[in-house]
């Protein structure tokens, strides 16, 4: 053909190496892992105590609950929704858990109850979003008010003391590693494999990528959204299990800005805020990165009060890069 053809270029994909494939599929995860390594190298040269076992434990175990909650949040965001009430939910669940423990219920009930209650509460949110056809940001803003107000008006913000020592799950160690780290690693891997290798998991990506096409492909979109919110609520419950048991007291209020930290972990971990892409390995790595940044700031003598500004800046940079990538890749 003599005329230059603008559309005829075939998508020729020579056999790519496994490494190239991994880099292209998990780019964001690799970037974050590299950032963590770089941070550790730089900060530990400035202040070697940064690499002390105690500090590492504090960084990772102390923030494992954020990583666990971010797993569920990632699923919600991948389906194209959002939940800004998760911080309030964790506050409520922690209070319930603590009160159960103090009231003499078996500790395993105090541990497990938040998982079921979390799933139930988030299920209601999901039903309002899916069947009420309300934007999730509005529903969860409303839920945030309800949970936060409800919690404080019932408890008056009182502290829960005298927690039974057996309740302190997060302070225990299995095989020398703190329990929260076990939880974080195991749940991240499980969720990652589940989302990659099951029809249910893949349908979350399909719904977030193109809801109409997902419906046409026979995926029950509304039911999946409710189920995703329930799973997310269950993960918030497991996060509570770690969060509520790591200190000797539980303050029955809502941890400030927890929802933002959790959403940020998901987004910076590579879960596109427009839905349809990302993995929970990224969100867990991002949660570790934040914790490390927070700790590093202390070790290099920067006031920790700047932490939030740094995180806000990171969110914006990540989102701008994500938008730029999308515009480049899917230019029509």
């Amino acid at each position: 053909m003599a005329a230059p053809d603008l559309h005829a270029a075939p998508d020729f994909h020579p056999k790519r190496s496994l490494a190239a494939r991994i880099v292209s599929a998990y780019g964001q995860e690799i970037v974050i892992a590299a950032a963590i390594v770089a941070l550790f190298v730089v900060v530990s040269t400035i202040n070697p105590r940064f690499l002390g076992t105690n500090n590492l434990n504090t960084i990772i175990a102390g923030n494992a609950y954020i990583a666990v909650a971010a797993i569920g949040m990632s699923m919600v965001i991948i389906t194209g929704q959002i939940d800004v009430s998760v911080g309030a939910l964790i506050g409520v669940l922690a209070t319930i858990s603590g009160n159960l423990a103090v009231s003499g219920a078996p500790v395993w009930i105090a541990w497990i109850a938040p998982v079921f209650i979390g799933a139930a509460i988030s299920g209601v949110t999901g039903a309002l979003v899916a069947y009420g056809r309300l934007p999730s940001i509005v529903v969860t803003l409303g839920m945030l008010s309800i949970l936060k107000g409800g919690l404080v008006s019932v408890t008056g913000g009182a502290w829960i003391n005298h927690l039974p020592p057996a309740f302190q799950l997060a302070q225990q160690r299995w095989l020398g590693l703190p329990v929260p780290i076990w939880f974080m690693v195991a749940l991240t891997l499980l969720a990652f494999l589940w989302m990659r290798n099951t029809a249910f998991g893949r349908s979350l990506y399909a719904i977030g990528g193109n809801p109409e096409a997902a419906r046409a492909a026979g995926i029950p979109v509304e039911r999946r959204i409710v189920q995703t919110f329930m799973i997310h609520g269950a993960f918030a419950g497991i996060a509570t299990m770690i969060f509520a048991t790591q200190l000797r007291v539980i303050q029955s209020t809502v941890p400030p800005n927890l929802e933002l930290t959790i959403i940020t972990a998901s987004v910076i971990g590579g879960v596109s805020i427009l839905g349809g892409t990302g993995t929970v390995i990224g969100s867990t790595l991002a949660a570790i990165l934040f914790a490390a940044i927070g700790s590093a700031m202390i070790f290099v003598n920067v006031s920790a009060y700047w932490l939030r500004a740094v995180i806000g800046f990171l969110i914006l940079v990540t989102v701008l890069v994500d938008m730029a990538r999308r515009n480049r890749e899917f230019r029509q």
Partner: protein
């Protein structure tokens, strides 16, 4: 590439799908009137008709997207009053729409098997089998170069279409509906697609092939059905029709009667475009537009016609070349800027680009000329309503009044509102992109008459159209675009279906090269 010998059409084969007396109305407008239609195994059944003839509605009735108001649909043995999407899937009916239903972030293999992926127990996906079967399906479509692991979002339109066809085949489709599959494809890809269609036919799949392109239909189809204004005009074996008879069936009346065009009074040049380019969308486009002239712009979808208009209107500013307005060079950087310079653009997609549907006629009509009905920043509402009423009267818009919400109007009347909006700005140059797409015949000829009148009053009109009769009937000169370039400029006297059609297909480009 010899087509396989087909069984005679009249043989007593049970149709895969048949429709009897199907009707459908939207908002009181009948878009399908008592239509009969069927698909036999191993045939390509072409569905023809001008824009707005009811083709899309018909295929959506078969696919279960729209429930008909009357008539019956028989899939295999089942007789139904309405098809659900589930019935369609169970009956082996798959549709490849123009806007493809794919997931850009998922891989090719996943897209093919989404919703019915092979599993290995515990709900685990069998990736190996999924990729292998996707590979087989694509190979059977002669797409050996398509990577099953590539993200669909990174593929070209032609390859996405192949993924969509593979998806249909993976569900054991026995009826494949293809809605203008070649509209956005280049020649090489069109030939490949036609091979694929022949292979499927040889396997006994019944194919409903919707297209505007007559040469394709003569090459592929076994039977052809023509719709006009929602009514069935006829179903015939391809051997019994010619291009002329098909066009006559589609158009239904003499072209001259359809396009009442007054004698033009062409005057000085208003717009001069030299070597215009915008990225890789189009390049090297040069032409002049004169007062009193209707300049037609023909070309296939995707040839860069609309893109040229968008650049002149400032939506996608030019990356090279010059635009001169009445002799002065201008750099048009935004629609607002274009507006101020006296350029108006009646866009291709009325619902998305032309109108704010929840707003009233008055609010839409004043939208591009708000300053004229405002004192400072304050809108003079009475004045606005008055002007809208005048516009309704001038264009013969059928509406209750300026306060009626635009979304409630029919397509033709909506188009008149868009036109009214731009006439309020007193433009020097009026660009009309598919001015009569999806509009009933009456409104169509009214808009054509209006265009003729405006040109006579001295307006310069650039008309982009996919309808050859419209281009030939209305234009004083015809420009033809192909593959992002202007390949021909033909005077009215020399413009005929052969000369323009050949240029559209790229013949002129080959001569030039």
């Amino acid at each position: 590439m010899t087509p396989p010998v087909m069984p005679p059409v009249t043989s007593p084969v049970t149709p895969l799908v048949s429709l009897a007396g199907v009707s459908k109305s939207f908002a009181g407008v009948r878009v399908l009137k008592d239509v009969d239609f069927d698909v036999l195994p191993g045939e390509v059944h072409a569905l023809l008709g001008e824009n707005g003839a009811g083709k899309s509605t018909l295929i959506k009735v078969i696919a279960g997207v729209h429930a008909p108001d009357g008539g019956t649909i028989t899939i295999g043995e089942r007789e139904l009053a309405a098809v659900t999407p589930r019935d369609a899937v169970e009956g082996g009916i798959a549709t490849v729409y123009q806007e493809l239903l794919l997931f850009p972030e998922l891989s090719v293999a996943e897209n093919v098997f989404l919703g019915h992926a092979p599993t290995r127990g515990l709900g685990r996906l069998d990736w190996t089998q999924m990729r292998r079967r996707a590979r087989q399906l694509l190979d059977s479509l002669d797409s050996h170069d398509l990577d099953v692991d590539a993200k669909v979002g990174t593929l070209s339109v032609a390859n996405r279409q192949r993924v969509e066809i593979a998806k249909a085949l993976s569900q054991n489709a026995r009826v494949l509906i293809m809605d203008e599959p070649t509209a956005a494809l280049a020649d090489a890809d069109v030939r490949r697609l036609m091979d694929v269609v022949r292979r499927l036919r040889a396997r006994g799949v019944g194919i409903v092939y919707v297209s505007h392109k007559l040469p394709e239909i003569f090459e592929l189809a076994d039977r052809v059905t023509v719709l006009r204004d929602g009514a069935l005009i006829g179903t015939k074996p391809i051997a019994e029709v010619t291009e002329q008879s098909l066009v006559a069936m589609m158009v239904g009346r003499e072209i001259d009667h359809l396009f009442p065009k007054p004698e033009p009074a062409i005057r000085e040049t208003v717009l001069k475009v030299e070597g215009l380019a915008c990225g890789d969308r189009f390049r090297d486009v040069s032409f002049e537009l004169r007062r009193g002239e209707i300049l037609g712009m023909a070309g296939l979808v995707g040839s860069g016609r609309t893109e040229v208009a968008l650049t002149i209107f400032g939506i996608t500013p030019a990356t090279a070349g010059t635009i001169e307005l009445e002799g002065r060079p201008v750099a048009i950087t935004s629609p607002r800027h274009a507006c101020d310079l006296g350029i108006a653009y009646v866009p291709e997609d009325r619902g998305l680009q032309g109108l704010v549907r929840p707003m009233t006629i008055a609010q839409n009509v004043s939208m591009a000329s708000l300053r004229k009905v405002a004192t400072g920043i304050f809108i003079r509402f009475a004045d606005e309503a008055l002007r809208a009423a005048a516009s309704i009267k001038q264009l013969g818009t059928r509406a209750r009044g300026p306060d009626q919400v635009v979304g409630q109007l029919s397509g033709g009347n909506q188009q008149k509102v868009v036109l009214g909006k731009w006439l309020e700005t007193n433009p020097r140059i009026l660009i009309m992109d598919e001015p009569t797409r999806g509009i009933d015949v009456g409104a169509k000829s009214e808009i054509h008459a209006l265009m003729g009148r405006l040109a006579q009053e001295g307006m310069a009109i650039l008309m982009i159209s996919s309808e050859l009769p419209e281009v030939l009937g209305m234009s004083d000169r015809v420009l033809v675009m192909h593959a992002g370039r202007l390949v021909a400029a033909i005077d009215r006297a020399d413009a005929n279906p052969e000369s323009v059609g050949a240029a559209m297909a790229g013949a002129a480009a080959q001569e030039a090269a």
